[in-house]
């Protein structure tokens, strides 16, 4: 097992090299000269050359690639073109509000969805099951924007239960700020989550071992909670864990509408101002996140299913 983890960690090296290459090609080769965007329409050739020199764009392609690789392994991403701040510092500051919003919202929505899924699986085929499925589809059919605008207007503005926007550091000071976006997050994810979990659980319910459990005289609820859920865990783990890296990015839309100064906001600003180093940093961070959490979900499989063993 330890061997397996070490091997998987070593495999990260070629993957990161590949990721750096793709990011390098996207930003340094395909996207063309950023100085034109940075200096605006009236820049002189002289100014552009100076800026290129300053940003290290006149180095050879190979050395520029090495810079990308270096940043991927050291997490030292240099300075933002737009704000001139150190990027690792910006990320550190942005993470706090993002995590305050995304982690509670994610955990709560996953737990609620699992609970509802087991409930509707128990009543499969009955009226309540149909009702929940219809609500899920209806909920998924409405645009996220509609929820954000309506909830913000109704609960925060009309009823005044929550702050309309902004953020404050420290618990419990941030709670009134993140409560409403977190609720919207939960409402948005329950539809797809319940549909997925329900399908996975029902796939298991028709397996032979469930028939054996029934023939032992177990009650339907015991069978669901003890026998079926354990077996349904593998696809559920995959589905849940692979979402975690995107939590770091926060919720682009939610953070933007509620003026939460998180990583989502930083990314949006970077996109708007052609701030290449910040975009590169976010791209590298999320690929590292995916690789790491992919490994974590693989390790969790061995906990959930004794048939899976890594050597």
């Amino acid at each position: 097992m330890t061997k397996y983890i070490i091997r998987r960690l070593l495999y990260m090296i070629p993957v990161l090299l590949g990721v750096s290459l793709i990011i390098f090609l996207l930003f340094n080769v395909v996207s063309g000269d950023p100085t034109a965007v940075l200096l605006g329409k009236n820049a002189t050739a002289r100014q552009m050359a100076d800026l290129r020199e300053q940003l290290g764009l006149n180095k050879s392609m190979f050395l520029q690639y090495i810079d990308v690789v270096k940043s991927a392994f050291t997490f030292d991403f240099g300075y933002s073109w737009a704000t001139k701040q150190e990027i690792s510092q910006m990320i550190k500051q942005g993470s706090y509000p993002s995590i305050c919003l995304s982690v509670p919202a994610f955990v709560i929505s996953t737990i609620i969805s699992l609970f509802i899924s087991v409930f509707v699986a128990y009543y499969r085929g009955k009226g309540i099951d149909l009702f929940v499925r219809v609500v899920c589809i209806a909920g998924m059919s409405i645009s996220a924007l509609a929820y954000i605008l309506f909830f913000q207007w109704f609960f925060a503005y009309k009823l005044g239960w929550f702050e309309i926007s902004g953020f404050e550091e420290g618990f419990p000071a941030f709670v009134p700020y993140i409560a409403l976006p977190a609720i919207i997050w939960i409402v948005l994810s329950i539809g797809p989550d319940v549909r997925f979990f329900r399908t996975v659980i029902l796939d298991e319910i028709y397996q032979d071992y469930v028939r054996t459990a029934r023939s032992k005289g177990l009650s339907e609820m015991t069978i669901l909670l003890r026998h079926v859920l354990r077996n349904a865990m593998i696809p559920i783990i995959t589905y849940v864990v692979i979402q975690i890296p995107s939590l770091i990015l926060g919720a682009l839309l939610l953070e933007n509408f509620f003026s939460i100064p998180g990583l989502g906001g930083i990314t949006l600003n970077a996109l708007n101002s052609s701030d290449f180093p910040v975009m590169k940093a976010m791209a590298i961070l999320s690929s590292v996140g995916y690789i790491v959490f992919g490994l974590i979900s693989d390790i969790l499989y061995t906990v959930a299913d004794p048939r899976i063993k890594f050597k």
Binding site: R214, S215, K216, G217, A304, P306
Partner: protein, 575 residues
């Protein structure tokens, strides 16, 4: 006279489907006395499993309805019990073993825990006591080293051991009635024999009643007291086992008794149920020539043309280890195998699961790459041919797989399935000509041409295997490998498919390699038989000799494992 333990009276079970109401069990009645074993025999779809699920109260509601009938267990009508009352009976007073030991256990719990669970809920004892009882039961059902084995997960056990665990689970609460639904069908013959003996012994020792469901009369020959024969949702005959085996009355029962290939003497083609009765169930007289014993030796094609020669073939799979998954060792699935097959003949390969017979078949077709040795087909070394040459070769060599349920693409019509090989090899002219070829071959394998545009799920197992055979023959191959091609079929269907394979061999001059775990089947169809064990062919002889003068202990074990039930009666006395 005491009341029977279980008494089924005028039971009717119906299923509501999209196409209307299907009657799965039609007004059947039978009794199971205390301490006796009742065999319920019938082919798939005859309603025997539905009957057992009705007794257990496990029918899938609301699709299944019981409009009529009573099931008395110890004087209580089970059909009037509610779910809570049934739960107290299930696993406690009536328990059940299923056909598929591979999937019937929960893969993520230790087997000891799965046995202990039933004890805990019914006997209200502590975890520790239940676990100790589980270990004790595992010992009772003959699992080696039970206290350690209780900590194993199902995937760490063999099929036979898993079925023993299922049995331990079923007897854990000292049930009065044990229902065994085809408990040995998925197992090798030698394991089947052990499991049958175990069930019989437990039934006697614990003084249980047993309801043993099977499609194969031969299996229950030694253990059943009474036999109930079911056919198309009805009970057609029920009697004392002795009487059934010696004086069967209903033509369907006679057909079931006659269709199992016997070791040694067999007619040229196996008798089938359709020899005894018409589609409508009217009894027919079997022509005398159908039961004449056929001497294979007399008709062996005198040819010296060797179609396939295997020389010292080895197929090995790497065992990975180390930090970077280097190959540290090899597992030899096929270990130094050599044989020859003459054109138009059949070589039978027999052995148990894991002996390498399937890998050998696939190596011959180059579906798995052999590691050493030579494959010489029609005088040409094909061990290393590639690309176009290999593609041309594949036209001449075909394979029919074991499981007719999973080897047909469920989203293709029968016409598309049959025409696909022609399309791949660009054979058979225009689309209309290809369609015509497919239609002709479908009729040849005994299916109506009007079924061409149906999908696989609309066919029964036997019909699907016929489709698989037709698909293999579409390219007019010379050489066909049948890999356990009849093992998943009911005995009555098995006989039809075996007959079909022989008819086709005669008509097209096919050469077969026939792989099976059942020596009686191999013995019937093959001219020569090779016995495989641990990757090697340990014995090879003419089919007519091997059962008389087996040279190795292993072959003798295989021979003695064949159920003897059917041999009590000669074919002639059935007619």
């Amino acid at each position: 006279m005491t009341l029977p333990l279980l008494s089924v009276k005028n039971l009717v079970v119906e299923f509501r489907t999209g196409e209307g109401i299907v009657r799965a069990v039609n007004n059947i009645s039978f009794d199971i006395p205390h301490g006796k074993t009742i065999g319920i025999v019938g082919e798939s779809g005859s309603g025997k499993s539905v009957t057992s699920l009705a007794v257990m109260g496990l029918l899938q509601k609301p699709a299944a309805v019981i409009p009529q009938g009573e099931i008395f267990f110890n004087g209580v009508d089970l059909l009037k019990c509610n779910e809570n009352e049934m739960r107290k009976i299930r696993g406690n007073q009536i328990s059940m073993i299923f056909q598929e030991p591979m999937t019937s256990l929960n893969p993520v719990f230790k087997v000891g825990e799965q046995i202990a669970e039933a004890i805990r809920i019914h006997k209200n004892v502590s975890n520790k006591v239940a676990w100790e009882k589980a270990v004790h039961l595992m010992n009772l059902v003959g699992i080696p080293n039970p206290s350690a084995s209780a900590h194993k997960y199902p995937h760490e056990m063999s099929g036979g051991q898993k079925q023993r665990v299922m049995i331990a689970m079923a007897i854990s609460c000292d049930p009065k009635l044990l229902i065994a639904d085809e408990p040995t069908t998925a197992l090798d013959v030698t394991i089947q024999k052990q499991v049958l003996e175990l069930l019989h012994k437990l039934q006697q020792d614990l003084n249980m009643s047993m309801m043993f469901i099977t499609h194969d009369l031969g299996v229950i020959g030694d253990i059943a007291d009474d036999v109930v024969v079911m056919y198309r949702s009805n009970v057609v005959e029920q009697n004392n086992a002795q009487e059934i085996f010696t004086k069967a009355i209903h033509p369907y029962t006679k057909g079931l008794l006659a269709c199992r290939p016997k070791l040694g003497a067999n007619p040229r083609r196996l008798l089938t149920v359709s020899d005894f009765m018409t589609e409508e169930g009217v009894e027919k007289t079997v022509p005398v020539e159908r039961i004449q014993i056929f001497d294979k030796e007399s008709e062996v094609i005198k040819t010296d043309h060797v179609l396939l020669e295997i020389q010292n073939l080895v197929t090995q799979f790497p065992i990975k280890g180390g930090l970077f998954g280097r190959t540290v060792d090899h597992f030899k699935a096929v270990d130094d195998v050599s044989f020859k097959i003459k054109k138009g003949q059949t070589l039978g390969l027999v052995g148990e699961s894991g002996c390498g017979k399937t890998t050998l078949g696939r190596s011959i077709l180059r579906l798995v790459e052999p590691s050493a040795g030579k494959i010489i087909y029609d005088g040409k070394d094909i061990t290393h041919v590639q690309h176009e040459e290999l593609r041309l070769l594949r036209k001449k060599m075909q394979i029919i797989f074991q499981d007719p349920y999973s080897s047909l693409n469920p989203r293709m019509t029968i016409a598309d399935i049959l025409m696909e090989p022609l399309n791949i090899h660009n054979e058979g002219g225009t689309k209309a000509q290809r369609y015509e070829m497919a239609r002709a071959l479908l009729e040849k394998v005994g299916l109506k041409a009007s079924l061409m545009n149906r999908y696989p799920h609309e066919f029964s197992g036997g019909q699907r295997q016929r489709i698989c055979i037709a698909r293999a023959l579409m390219l007019r191959p010379e050489f066909v490998i049948c890999d356990e091609s009849v093992s998943a079929l009911d005995v009555s269907i098995q006989a039809q498919v075996l007959n079909l394979l022989l008819d086709l061999q005669q008509e097209f001059g096919l050469t077969y390699v026939f792989i099976s775990h059942d020596l009686s089947v191999v013995n019937f169809i093959a001219d020569e038989v090779g016995v495989m064990y641990a990757g090697k062919i340990i014995e090879m002889d003419k089919a007519s000799n091997i059962y008389k003068s087996a040279k190795t202990e292993y072959t003798r074990a295989l021979l003695s494992a064949i159920p003897k039930g059917e041999t009590k009666q000669s074919l002639a006395s059935l007619v």
